[in-house]
């Protein structure tokens, strides 16, 4: 099996879905690129290269460049999906949710409910999410923790190339609106990815590591960092479950609780700030449903309550790393 980067794995999923189903199209800023200029049309393929080659293979009718108009992009995807298309829209950086929140939350996320179950909105909105690029306050946020709080939306956070392809193919086939957050620091990370199409169901966590002493739940780019911490602790005789939920909505609460009941300890890791976030959410779940199993305090490892800083030293201090995760595991084991 060939190794592929997360970027190429998602790109392959888009190509295959578009070849299989004529109702799938991509839309966004520079998803083709070089429109209206003397340059080579389609030569950009998205600022992170995720939609590369799609314009040349499928043409302008199904690889649609837009002006910088995020509300119009999400609205176009929502409207097309309401009448039966399966758009995959790109909103470049997850931070830009701030300029199209209404179209995501009040429009596409609520159609089905408000219309009495008589509509479907099979749209996927892709975002490059999270920190690690010294991109500062407006281009580094995770944002998926915010969007998880809105009923009607499904939220996907792949942590590796294999999952990214299978989750993207599930997202495109899903009849509900799906927000797909790609940790941009992982675009270049590679692993074995099958050439054929396959799906990974939503709401089914992946056990990245299995152990007896502590449950670690991590999201997105925190998954490889948590694995690094856990592998280091294994040398000290501490073994942990590492759970990657893969989707925060729906959340595989069963897998998390089962693990916590077995280990009696829980560390939750995310790169977003702590307030009203996924770590608090999972911690509350365990405190509510598995309290009597707990042998130590639930620990949350996340960014501090501040915007993402620019300076590489500051950002390194801001985003949780393997050392902080190790320390949290040891603290709850103490």
């Amino acid at each position: 099996m060939a190794e592929k980067t997360m970027r190429d794995a998602i790109n392959e999923a888009l190509h295959q879905a578009m070849a299989e189903d004529e109702s799938v199209f991509v839309i966004g800023e520079d998803v083709a690129g070089a429109m209206g200029s003397d340059g080579d049309p389609g030569s950009v393929g998205g600022v992170f290269g995720v939609t590369g080659g799609i314009y040349k293979e499928f043409g302008a009718n199904r690889c649609i460049d837009t002006p910088i108009s995020e509300s119009a992009i999400v609205g176009a995807a929502a409207g097309a999906a309401l009448v039966g298309m399966r758009p995959v829209a790109e909103i470049m950086f997850a931070d830009f949710i701030g300029v199209c929140m209404d179209q995501i939350v009040n429009q596409m996320g609520k159609f089905r409910y408000m219309f009495g179950g008589k509509s479907t909105c099979p749209a996927v909105i892709r975002f490059a999410a999270g920190g690690g690029f010294s991109a500062a306050g407006q281009h580094s946020q995770a944002m998926y923790q915010v969007m998880t709080s809105f009923p009607g939306l499904k939220v996907v956070i792949p942590s590796n190339a294999y999952d990214a392809k299978g989750l993207m193919l599930s997202a495109i086939k899903d009849d509900d609106p799906v927000l797909f957050f790609e940790p941009k620091v992982l675009y270049q990370e590679a692993c074995e990815v099958p050439d054929e199409m396959y799906t990974i169901p939503f709401g089914e966590a992946n056990f990245v590591r299995e152990g007896d002493d502590c449950t670690v739940v991590a999201f997105g780019q925190m998954v490889p960092k948590a694995a690094q911490a856990i592998d280091a602790l294994a040398e000290e005789g501490i073994s942990c479950d590492l759970i990657d939920p893969r989707t925060s909505s729906p959340l595989d609460t069963g897998a998390i609780l089962e693990s916590v009941e077995a280990t009696g300890r829980l560390v939750v890791v995310d790169e977003a700030p702590p307030r009203c976030g996924l770590t608090a959410d999972v911690a509350a779940l365990a405190a509510d449903k598995a309290f009597t199993s707990l042998k130590g305090p639930i620990k949350q490892v996340c960014a501090p309550h501040s915007p993402t800083p620019f300076s590489p030293e500051l950002e390194a201090a801001y985003i949780p790393d393997a050392e902080k995760i190790k320390a949290a595991i040891k603290e709850t084991m103490a």
Partner: protein, 326 residues
């Protein structure tokens, strides 16, 4: 343009149905029978009907918070709508949407919309779908004079031009965005020119006159349907009620509403024109009036006794499913 008699009768029936639906809704709200926020379309009936008489079920509309008229004009079931206002599980949206979110996808009604200018971007998506599929359908967004100052409206208009999609932007100027005059809220003197500067034609109509709206909308829809990209319709006509039911309307000038109801009433104008042209007799219109009143009575009777939703409905229809189909 000559309009066949059957269509004239249908247009009158639709306008009268909207009028009576709204007036009855008003009475029932004042009686405490209907919960929530309701925004009535009374007075503007010719706008919705003049546009929707050009549309089929395959064409889509998206509406506003003042959406009852658009939904009726596009063919929504009036009894189901009344049940929805009552919050019944037999309502068009099972009591989950209410007045501001009435939708019927099969009829091409992509929903009334509680967010001002929330609709135009979505309508451009429907128009884009028609273009990608190579169909000659159009997507109409109704929005008001309040919407024209929202960024989403600008974004949608520009994107529609850039992608050359069959979107028709119907701007209904009822002179007030909530409680603020258009003279205050729109910073330019010529809204038609400002809108046309996006790069599509705008056709202006007297919103109190069905025939004028029908003609203007016909031009705009034909332009879009023929693959020439988006078009706009501006229809001017005041609403007879407040922004919402219960609005004390302190912003109105003295005698303003009386003049509106007296001189700018689409039903009176329609009847006067028919009296002049003898295309339709007053007896035929009287007969429609009776049928409409009976329909609205029946709608209210059925809504009063319709099934109420049970608590387990709260979490139903949030999602289609929790797992993707393989």
């Amino acid at each position: 343009m000559a309009i066949p008699k059957e269509k004239l009768l249908q247009a009158y029936r639709q306008m009268k149905t909207i009028r009576e639906f709204e007036e009855r809704a008003h009475a029932e709200i004042m009686n405490g029978q209907i919960a929530g926020f309701t925004h009535l379309y009374t007075g503007q009936e010719a706008n919705a009907v003049g546009v929707c008489e050009h549309l089929s079920n395959e064409d889509t509309i998206i509406s506003t918070h003042r959406g009852h008229g658009h939904c009726i004009a596009k063919g929504a079931d009036v009894v189901g709508m009344m049940k929805e206002l009552w919050g019944s599980s037999e309502g068009l949206c099972k009591g989950k949407g209410g007045s501001m979110h009435i939708a019927d996808i099969d009829k091409g009604i992509l929903g009334a919309n509680g967010i001002v200018a929330g609709g135009p971007p979505i309508s451009v998506g429907s128009a884009l779908a028609a273009k990608i599929r190579g169909r000659d359908n159009v997507a109409v967004s109704f929005s008001g004079d309040g919407s024209v100052n929202q960024g989403t409206c600008f974004e949608a208009m520009n994107l529609a031009v850039v992608l050359k999609v069959p979107a028709v932007f119907v701007i209904e100027n009822n002179y007030y965005s909530e409680h603020t005059s258009i003279d205050y809220a729109v910073g330019c003197d010529d809204l038609k020119a400002r809108t046309e500067s996006f790069g599509f034609p705008v056709f202006v109509a007297d919103g109190s006159d069905f025939f004028d709206v029908y003609e203007a909308a016909g031009k705009a829809i034909e332009h879009a349907r023929a693959g020439n990209g988006p078009a706009g319709v501006f229809a001017e006509q005041g609403r007879y009620h407040g922004h919402f039911v219960g609005d004390p309307q302190t912003y109105r000038g003295e005698g303003e509403l009386d003049e509106l109801r007296e001189k700018y009433d689409c039903l009176k104008k329609f009847r006067a024109r028919m009296a002049d042209s003898s295309e339709v007799s007053s007896e035929e219109l009287d007969a429609i009036d009776s049928e409409v009143l009976a329909l609205i009575d029946r709608a209210v009777d059925e809504a009063r006794s319709a099934a109420r939703p049970t608590p387990e409905e709260v979490t139903r229809d949030v999602y289609v499913n929790y797992h993707a189909t393989a």
